[in-house]
Structure formats: structure tokens, C-alpha cells
Symmetry: C3
Subunit: 128 residues, 3 copies
Amino acid sequence: MNKTLNPAHIAPPYKNRYSHAIEVSAGSRMLFISGTVGVRPDGSVPAEFAAQVDTVMQNLTEILRAGGMDWGDVVKFQGFLTPQGDIPAFAEVRQKYFAAQKPAMTVVWVAGLADPRWMVEVDLVAAK
Amino acid sequence: MNKTLNPAHIAPPYKNRYSHAIEVSAGSRMLFISGTVGVRPDGSVPAEFAAQVDTVMQNLTEILRAGGMDWGDVVKFQGFLTPQGDIPAFAEVRQKYFAAQKPAMTVVWVAGLADPRWMVEVDLVAAK
Amino acid sequence: MNKTLNPAHIAPPYKNRYSHAIEVSAGSRMLFISGTVGVRPDGSVPAEFAAQVDTVMQNLTEILRAGGMDWGDVVKFQGFLTPQGDIPAFAEVRQKYFAAQKPAMTVVWVAGLADPRWMVEVDLVAAK
């Protein structure tokens, strides 16, 4: 099991939505997951931001499963938002997927993503 | 050998240019490679975007080689483009370097890079 | 000990502030550290950029310590700057913390961070 690191004498993670760090034990296998976007199996992209985030999270769930892992094994979550994104809505949808052990996280606003319909892209590192 | 994960029941990777995820076996050694830019050995920077991408890819090839690895060992490719970048040209040059096993990939548009001559920056994780 | 890779026949790392790559041996334990910002233990955020960078670096030092590591174990440094950031000031403060072995590094300008007071966010990978 990966280990959560949240030293008590610095400011806590922003709104307690993530862990300051996750430690991966020697001898773990790891998954490096691509920047994943809100494209449904039929190629369509939800026009509404929260629905798009949910599609991203479902796609990531399937990719984790293909590697024999789940959200409890995620060590790093990296999110890129376009100006059409929304941080509270992103958090609200995303946090439902997290297990008891929250991953380390970086989220930034970027100038854009490869397809103008995409408002959010997330990549992950997972380990087990 | 790293393992490609492309679950069949979600949308395929964008234009099949990358893998949804790469699994790294326990007991691999890993390379973490810096954001690499299109600076030639003499310090010059190609003014043309495609030539700059090619210089980035050549530099990355040399860094991989210094670690005893090649493009078939790359597990994660992360690209940052400035507004002067061009996604189709980036893909066209980049994909020539990839081995049969395509890495996981994230590409985003950013506001800028450290030197205004740079239009693209790429970092890698590799494992063997 | 992680190993530095700086092939001699490509252009050196920008201003020699980082290493082209760091190799992590098989059998290392690893830390994945969140995008860390310049928030002090009391929740305040320095208004001045250099002070904010210093707070980021102190917070990262504490997180590394919680994992039994220090700056000599950092393999990858990823920095995101907002338009209010300043690359020379970032480098000046940051480099004081680095050990003899400089990490691999990526630094980009982004459109913004989650809280408008934040001008810089840094995440790390470390291994020992």
C-alpha cells in the first residue's frame, strides 16, 4: 500500500482535496497514464463542463482497471484546465472518485488543449 | 519490456498517436528527463517550428542513449507548446521517432516558456 | 544514489540550473509530491514573489523530510509560473536549496493557478 505524507507543521493541502505526497514502496509496479479527456466511446464530447469531468474520470477508471488498479492506487493526479473550466465543479465531480487515500495533485490553468472542445485533461501515475 | 494498456471500451487515444497507459514492471530502473528544448549544440535555436521539434527529439534521443535507453523505453511524453507552436507539425515530426510501442502522452498549450525563442518543450519518463 | 546524465555533445542545461536527466536505480522507493504553493503555516501568502518562492521551497523541504529524503534525492522538479512570476527571481531563490546533484527540471508559464494569490507552484518526484 502506498503511504500518505502530510507533515503537520506546514499549511494543509488546499481544501484537503489531496495529499501533500504519496510514497511508493520499492518493488511496486507503476502505471503512467496519458492526459485523458472527456471523449465518450462514441467519440462525442459533453458540452457541459461537469459532464466532461465525469467522462474524464470514468475513462481514467477504465484505464486503471486495465492495469489491475483503482483510485486507491493513484499516487499523482495532474489536471490541466482551459479558460472554459471551473475549479469548484472540477473538484466536486473529481472528489467523488477518490478513495480514502487521496493522491498527490497538481492543477493549473493552461492556454488551451489539443482540441477546442476539451476543457479539462488529466493524467495520472499509479503504483501497486 | 514495458506493457501498453489500451482498454477497448473507451474512446481510443487521440488520432492513435500515443497509448492510454504504459505499465512499468517492478524492478525497472527509470530515467526522469528535463523539459528539453530545441537548442542545437552550438547554442542556436531553429526559427522554424518543425526544425525546432526535430532538434528537441534529437536532444531527447541523446539523453535517452546516455541512460542506455531508446524511444521504445519511453513511458510518458509530456509536451508544452507556446502560441507559436503547431499541433499537426509537432505530431508529424514527433511520431517519426516513436518505436512500435507508443508512450503515454500529455500535450497542452501554455502561456510561454523560459526563453521566447522556444516554441516547444518536452520532458520524458523512461523505464527499462 | 541517483545518477546524473548530462551528455556532452548536446547543448548544456539552460544556465546549468538543472540536469538533463536523473536515473533512478531499480529498487528505489519514490515520493510523488503535490503541486506546492507559497502558503505559510498560518494560511497567509507572501505578496512578494521571491518570498513566495522561498515559502514554496521551505514547504517542499518539509514534505521531503516527512518521507525521509532531502533535496539531494529530488529527481524531477516541475515549476508552473503565472504572469506575475519572474524567472530570474525564481532561479535565484530555488537554486540555494539544491544539493550538489541538480534535479531534472521543467518550468513553464501557465495562464493561472487555483488561487489568484499564488504566483508559482512546484511539484517534485524524489527517489532513494
